[in-house]
C-alpha cells in the first residue's frame, strides 16, 4: 500500500521527492511525461498517483481523465497556488485531493497516509466476513469490504474519495454530517477557508447516483453545517 507513482516534468523535484519519501517508507517511481505516466498508472503496480497539473503535451487534466477511464486508483493533484479553478476542475474530473505547489512534503505524506488508512480499513474488513456491514439505504447498496456500490442493482464506479464520502453519509443516513467530519474522513485533513473540495465530491456523487430519490434530494446540503443523505421512510431528514 505504499507504491507511489509521481508524474511531474520537474526532474529535480521528482528526485527530491524520492529522497524524502523513501525514508518515510514509500516506494516511489517517478516519470516525467504524461504518456509514460498514463502507461505506468494503468499497470496496476501502484497504490497512488501524484500528478502535476502543468504537464507538457497532454495536460495534467487530460492525463487524469484518461486514467479515470480505466482505473479508480487514488490521485492527488499538484496544482498551481492561487488558482481555485484548477482545483475544482481536477476534483470534478475525479482527483481525490489536491495540494498546491509549493507544498510542505509533510502535508503530502499526511494525505498519502489518509488514503492508506481507507484501504487499510478495506483490508481489515476483508479479513472479517462483513456481509452484515453492507449499507443499504433506498436504492443504493454499499459494501465497505470489497468497496462496491450498487444503484438499483447496477454497479457504480466511484473514486476512492467518493466512496469514502458516500460511506460516511450513508452510515449516518437521515442525520447531518458536518463538513469538517467529512473532510477528516475523506481527505484526512481540515478544510481551508473557501475550500470546496468536499462540495465538489458531493456534486460528483449526486451526478453519479442521481440528484433525486422519491421526490426528495438524495444528498441535501445544510448551509454552514454539512450534508444529509436521504433516508426514505419516516421523515427522511432529521437534524
Amino acid at each position: 500500500m505504499n507504491h507511489i507513482l509521481v508524474i511531474d516534468d520537474d526532474e529535480e523535484l521528482c528526485e527530491l521527492l524520492i529522497d524524502y519519501l523513501t525514508p518515510e517508507g514509500f516506494d516511489v517511481e517517478a516519470v516525467q511525461t504524461p504518456e509514460k505516466g498514463l502507461q505506468r498508472a494503468l499497470t496496476k503496480e501502484h497504490d497512488l498517483v501524484i500528478l502535476d497539473v502543468m504537464l507538457p503535451g497532454m495536460s495534467g487534466f487530460d492525463t487524469l481523465r484518461h486514467i479515470r477511464l480505466k482505473s479508480d486508483i487514488p490521485v492527488i493533484m499538484l496544482t498551481a497556488r492561487g488558482d481555485g479553478v484548477d482545483r475544482i476542475v481536477g476534483l470534478e474530473m475525479g482527483a481525490d485531493d489536491y495540494l498546491p505547489k509549493p507544498f510542505n512534503p509533510r502535508e503530502l505524506v499526511a494525505r498519502i497516509r489518509a488514503v492508506q488508512r481507507r484501504f487499510e480499513k478495506k483490508e481489515l474488513s476483508e479479513n472479517v466476513h462483513q456481509k452484515n456491514l453492507s449499507l443499504k439505504v433506498g436504492d443504493v447498496v454499499l459494501d465497505p469490504g470489497p468497496r462496491t456500490v450498487f444503484l438499483q442493482g447496477k454497479p457504480v464506479s466511484l473514486t476512492a474519495a467518493e466512496f469514502t464520502l458516500l460511506n460516511e453519509l450513508m452510515k449516518n443516513a437521515g442525520n447531518v454530517v458536518s463538513r469538517d467530519v467529512l473532510s477528516e474522513a475523506v481527505l484526512g485533513r481540515k478544510l481551508g477557508l473557501f475550500d470546496r473540495s468536499i462540495d465538489v465530491h458531493v456534486s460528483s456523487l449526486r451526478k453519479k447516483l442521481g440528484h433525486q430519490y422519491h421526490g426528495a434530494e438524495r444528498i441535501q446540503s445544510i448551509r454552514g453545517v454539512g450534508y444529509i443523505y436521504f433516508r426514505p421512510g419516516k421523515g427522511g431528514f432529521s437534524y
Binding site: E12, M54, A80
Partner: protein, 492 residues
Amino acid sequence: MHSQTNNPKQRLLSNFFFDSYPAVLIRKNLFLKILFIACILNLFSMGITILMAVTSSSGPVARIVERVEKKRQELVSQGIHLYATPLIEKWVIQGKIAAVSYADQMEKHLSFDPNVFDSDGHSLIDRKAPPWVEGRIKQFMAGNHSEFHANNSHGLIVIHRMEGPDRKQYVASGSLKPLKKISYFSPNFAFRIGISFLMITLLSFLLTRHIANPIAKLRKATREIAAGNFSFRVGEMLGRRQDAIAQLGLDFDQMATQIQTLIKDRQRLFRDISHELRSPLARLSISLEISRQKASDEVTSNLDRIGLEAERINNLIGEILLLSRLETGPIFRTAEMIDLSGMICRIGDDANFEAQGRQVSVIIAPSPVFRIYGYPQILHRAIENVVRNAIRYTDKGTAVNIGIEAGSANKDHIILTIRDHGPGVPLSALPHLFEPFYRAKGDRGRKTGGTGVGLAIAYRAIKLHKGEIRAENIPNGGLQVTITLLKTANAA
C-alpha cells in the same frame, strides 16, 4: 451637452426647450430624432411651396388667375360683338320685338349677361342692368373710349361702343360673375398631407431601423466584451451589409480578437510566472524537509528560519500576482451574496490567534447582520490584510478595534472601521499608504514583517467592489482605516 451660460435668461430658455420632457425624449431616442428632423424638413418644404404659391403676385396661382381673367375678358368681348352686332341690326331694321326675340334665342347659348343700350342709356331689349353695371355704363357713355373692361368684386364687365347700321352710337355690355376663388388647396389637401406624413414616418422608421439596429447590436457586443465575454463577435449579426457601419462591426471584431489574445497571453504569463517562481520554492521546501530528517537539533532553528523566509517569498509571490490581476482586470469570478458581519468575525478570530503571539488582541464590536454582493475571496483578503497590518503596528498590550455599522449620512452605505493603537502614520505618508511597496520614511518594516503589498491589494479589492478606503490618524494615537461599501454593491 450645451455649454453652461451665466446669463440666467439664456439658461431658463435652454432649460425650457432642451430639458423639457419631449425634448429629452427626442434627444435620447435616435428614431424619434430622425423622425422629428424629417417631419420638420417636410413641413418646412411644404410651407415654402405654399407660401410661394400664395403670397407672390407672380406666383403660379396668381399667374393662372391672371390668364383666366384675360381669357374671360377676351371671350366676353368676342361674345358681345357677335351678339350685339345682329341685335342692333334687328332692332334698327325690324324693331324691338324682333330684337328681343333674337336676344332670348341667343342668350340660351351665352354664359355672360349681355345688354345693349342706345345713346340715351335705354336698354334695347328692355332689360334692367344691375346697378353696378349701370354705373359703369353711365361712366363709359360719359367718356369716349371705344372699349372698357374691369374686374372687381362684383365681377367682370366688358363694354364696347358700337355703330349701328343707322350710323347711331350704341353701347354693348357683358358682365360675368366673378371667378370662384381658386383654392390654393386641392379638395383632398388634408388627406394628401396626411398620406405624405405617413409615408415620411414610414420611411423614417425604415431608415432609422436600418441605422439603429446594427448600432444596437454593436452596443450589445460592447457590453458583452465589457462583461468579460471576450469571444463575442458581431460580424455575423450584421449580415450582408457592406456600409460604414458594417465596417465598424468588422473593426470591432478585430479589436475583440486582439483583446481576447491579450487577455489569454496575460493569463498565460501569470501562470508561467507563478509556475517559474514556485518551482524552485517547491524544490527548496522538499530539500528543507530532507535536511530536517537528517539534521541535528542545533540547526533546527536555522532550518525553521529558512522555512519561514521561503514561506514569505511564497506569500509575496501570491500577493504580487493577485495585485497584478486586480490592477489589470477583469475578474474571472462570479459575484455572490456575502454575510459581511460573519466574514469579519472569522477574520477577527483568525487574527486574534495570530495576535496573541504579539500580546495584542482583536476586539470586534457587536453588530447586526450586514449582507453585501461581491467576491468573497477577494474581499476577505482585503479586510484580512488591513487587520493584519493593524496587528503588526499596534503597541504591545493594546487591542485592534473593528466595527461595522450602517452609514449615518447614507443608509445604503456600510462603514467598516479598523483601528489600532500604534504610532500612526506621518501625515506626508498618509496619501501613499495604499501604494504597493510604499514605506514611510524610517520604517524599515522588517521588524514588523510588513510586505508592503497588502494595503495595495486591499485598495484594489475595495475599488473593485465600488467602495472606498481611506486611512487617518486618531487624535489619541493610532491609525484608523475606514472602508465604505455599498449594501447593494453591484461589483464590477
